[in-house]
């Protein structure tokens, strides 16, 4: 069989990244500055590959890649369909933005650890890509552990208090991964297969089997820990707030999203819609998510540390995504049916939270400002950074035409269609709570005067602009701009065919069999 070049990309995305990680390790001995260059170049190449993969998947069809030429039930298979390709592009885009940002901020924050930082960062990207492209459930577990381990180490890299945060994450994350492994074991014991597609063929007659059902519960619980779904979110606030900012952005924007992707993959590719309709587990998830949305927001209001506040906001946003996932089986509209709102919010949340965390990092970089109350007068001192923060915050609140607004509308429509009006109220309440905690920050930045600062004219104060370096500013502004631009793009429905293809794949939305 002859493979086209693009069909080699799924594996190359991972191998290139893996090789690059260790090249960085060696190159770092010779020249510390080369680390960033290698990392940046690798991720750029990966992103280009991912875009090609997405194009190929959309135009030609799903890519099946048999590692080593072994056919699926025995060999490992990488399967890239519309869902993976879409997530892969998001992962690598945000990774590219974060690595651009990290150039100056890591040189400033962790000058001793540049080499190990980039090595680990590259391994993190490897793991994330791996989870995304693989079609083998055990392979997925391995990649989950790869990115988790890199994440533990990266979180701890600031030392001090971050160590405790990292340790808590490690313990809880390992429990999550072990539950995932246990689920795999259960499935393996009744089917003897690890290939996702193969499993989905063997499983249907066994859906009534208690072992199969228990395995599903293990998957859900394990991945819920990884993705910080509400009652299992306890590791998240510490980890997010003490990690270096680009890692916080990755954690919040990508890592927990990839775990969500894993859950979606397991729910719809290993199990199927028929199984999910058998158990009320998705209804239960909806309620859990709704509680998460509200409680996450309420806890965010109680925080003074900006990054901690953003972390709790992530808990709430994961609730949005899980609510949308939970509703996916009961909606049939062509537009907001199925997984569309969930996948849409995965991208949107990556943009918004990425931007917010990078801005929080910029404040720390420039002036060691952690607490919201210290932000007085920043609006004038760092106009572009603060403008970016404002755009992203406005998106979080859901002011049109930002991305947050689009997700909100789609999720509300999904709630309406499935007849769960209570969640509409939850969504609206949550956007008000978002308003409360984000506006507090905006107000402090722009409106509150610093001590001793007199009522001055606009021109006299504009002279003390003190912005972050360009290599940090560009990523921040890019993300902020995308928050608005993507909102309009979503509204024009240009990217929706991708999500529609995902629904077609899983038989959701308008492809559902009534």
């Amino acid at each position: 069989m002859i493979l086209s070049v693009v069909e080699q990309f799924p594996v190359l995305v991972i191998v290139v990244s893996l090789l690059s990680a260790f090249t960085i390790l060696i190159a770092g001995w010779l020249n510390k500055k080369s680390c960033w260059v290698i990392s940046f170049a690798t991720i750029l190449v990966q992103l280009v590959m991912a875009v090609f993969i997405l194009h190929h998947v959309l135009t030609v069809g799903t890519i099946h890649y048999w590692l080593g030429g072994w056919s699926p039930p025995w060999g490992i298979e990488y399967v890239v369909d519309a869902l993976n390709a879409y997530i892969l592009v998001i992962v690598l885009s945000l990774a590219l933005i974060c690595v651009t940002y990290s150039k100056r901020s890591i040189a400033h924050e962790l000058p001793q650890k540049i080499v190990s930082f980039y090595t680990l960062y590259q391994l993190l990207v490897t793991g994330l890509c791996g989870v995304t492209v693989t079609g083998d459930i055990f392979n997925m577990y391995v990649f989950i552990e790869i990115f988790s381990l890199s994440a533990y180490a990266l979180i701890a890299s600031r030392g001090k208090i971050a160590l405790k945060a990292s340790f808590t994450y490690l313990v809880l994350g390992s429990i999550g991964a072990c539950f995932f492994l246990l689920g795999i074991g259960f499935l393996y014991s009744v089917t003897g297969s690890l290939n996702m597609h193969d499993l989905s063929l063997i499983l249907p007659p066994l859906y009534e089997n208690k072992v199969v059902q228990a395995a599903f519960v293990f998957f859900v619980v394990g991945l819920s820990i990884k993705m910080a779904l509400f009652p299992l979110h306890t590791w998240l606030p510490d980890a997010h707030s003490f990690a270096p900012s680009e890692i916080s952005a990755m954690l919040s924007g990508i890592i927990i999203e990839v775990s969500t992707y894993a859950l979606i993959r397991v729910s719809f590719s290993v199990y199927t819609v028929a199984f999910i309709k058998l158990l009320p587990i998705f209804d239960f998830l909806c309620w859990v998510a709704a509680f998460g949305i509200i409680i996450g927001s309420v806890l965010a209001i109680a925080q003074y540390n900006l990054k901690r506040m953003l972390a709790y906001s992530s808990v709430s946003q994961m609730g949005y995504i899980m609510l949308a996932v939970g509703l996916s089986t009961s909606t049939h509209s062509a537009l907001w049916g199925g997984l569309t709102p969930a996948l849409m919010h995965i991208l949107n949340h990556a943009l918004m939270k990425g931007c917010l965390f990078l801005v929080a990092g910029a404040f720390i970089y420039k002036a060691e400002l952690w607490n919201i109350t210290d932000f007085q007068g920043l609006g004038r001192k760092m106009p572009y950074t603060c403008a970016a923060f404002m755009l992203a915050a406005i998106s979080m609140i859901g002011v049109p035409p930002s991305v947050g607004f689009v997700s909100k509308v789609y999720i509300i429509l999904a709630c309406l269609e499935s007849g769960k009006f209570i969640f509409v109220a939850v969504m609206l309440l949550s956007s008000l709570l978002n308003l409360v905690y984000f506006w507090r920050v905006i107000e402090t930045m722009y409106m509150k005067r610093g001590e001793g600062e007199e009522r001055s004219h606009s021109h006299s104060s504009s002279s003390k602009i003190d912005e972050i370096p360009l290599s940090m500013l560009i990523p921040v502004l890019t993300l902020a701009g995308l928050c608005i631009i993507m909102g309009v793009v979503w509204l024009t429905e240009i990217p929706l065919p991708i999500l529609d293809q995902v629904n077609a794949l899983f038989g959701l939305g308008r492809y559902a069999i009534p």
Binding site: L3, V15, L18, I26, G68, G69, L120, L123
Partner: protein
């Protein structure tokens, strides 16, 4: 190092001599586990045994001496080299077959025109790949040991890359 706390190990002629005798044998055994057998597998185990020999040496002669035998730069180089061996051969399959074969599909290597494809696979897996895995495992386990033992440095090491290698075997 550790000078201010005094010696944390004691020189003991018997132990040192026995260690001197043991280490080469352990290492040869490790190599045997790695490449000496017919079938696949053994890279990881061989690497661990090899690392054990280094650990034994270090425990006997002290960290500074152990570090001298396996400096950090060597460690990094070895562990990258192992990975290059493993991943590079895989990539070679794609490159040499001009994109016709999959990653890790050793049957696509030109070597298979001399021997049978099956034997090529066997050769690549049991020799080249195992050596790669072994090197990486050895150096990383050694560096974990050194980092944990070398108080004050506390660098976290990561040997996750082996994870996916093992699973692909």
């Amino acid at each position: 190092m550790n000078g201010k706390k005094g010696k944390i190990w004691e020189e003991n002629v018997i132990i040192e001599t026995i260690t001197r005798l043991m280490v080469p044998f352990i290492q040869i055994y490790a190599l045997y586990v790695m490449v000496g057998t017919e079938g696949a597998g053994g890279g990881f185990q061989g690497g661990v045994v090899f690392a054990a020999s280094i650990v034994l040496f270090t425990v006997t002669f002290g960290i500074s001496k152990g570090r001298k035998r396996l400096p950090e730069s060597w460690n990094a180089a070895l562990n990258s080299l192992g990975l290059y061996l493993y991943a590079g051969v895989g990539l070679l399959c794609i490159v040499l077959s001009l994109g016709a074969a999959q990653y890790l599909n050793y049957a696509a290597l030109p070597l298979s025109q001399i021997m049978s494809p099956a034997h090529t696979r066997a050769l690549m897996i049991s020799d080249v790949v195992e050596v790669g895995i072994g090197l990486t495992v050895m150096s990383i386990f050694a560096s974990i040991f050194f980092d944990l033992a070398w108080k004050g440095e506390g660098k976290k090491n990561k040997d996750k890359n082996k994870g996916d290698k093992e699973v692909q075997e």
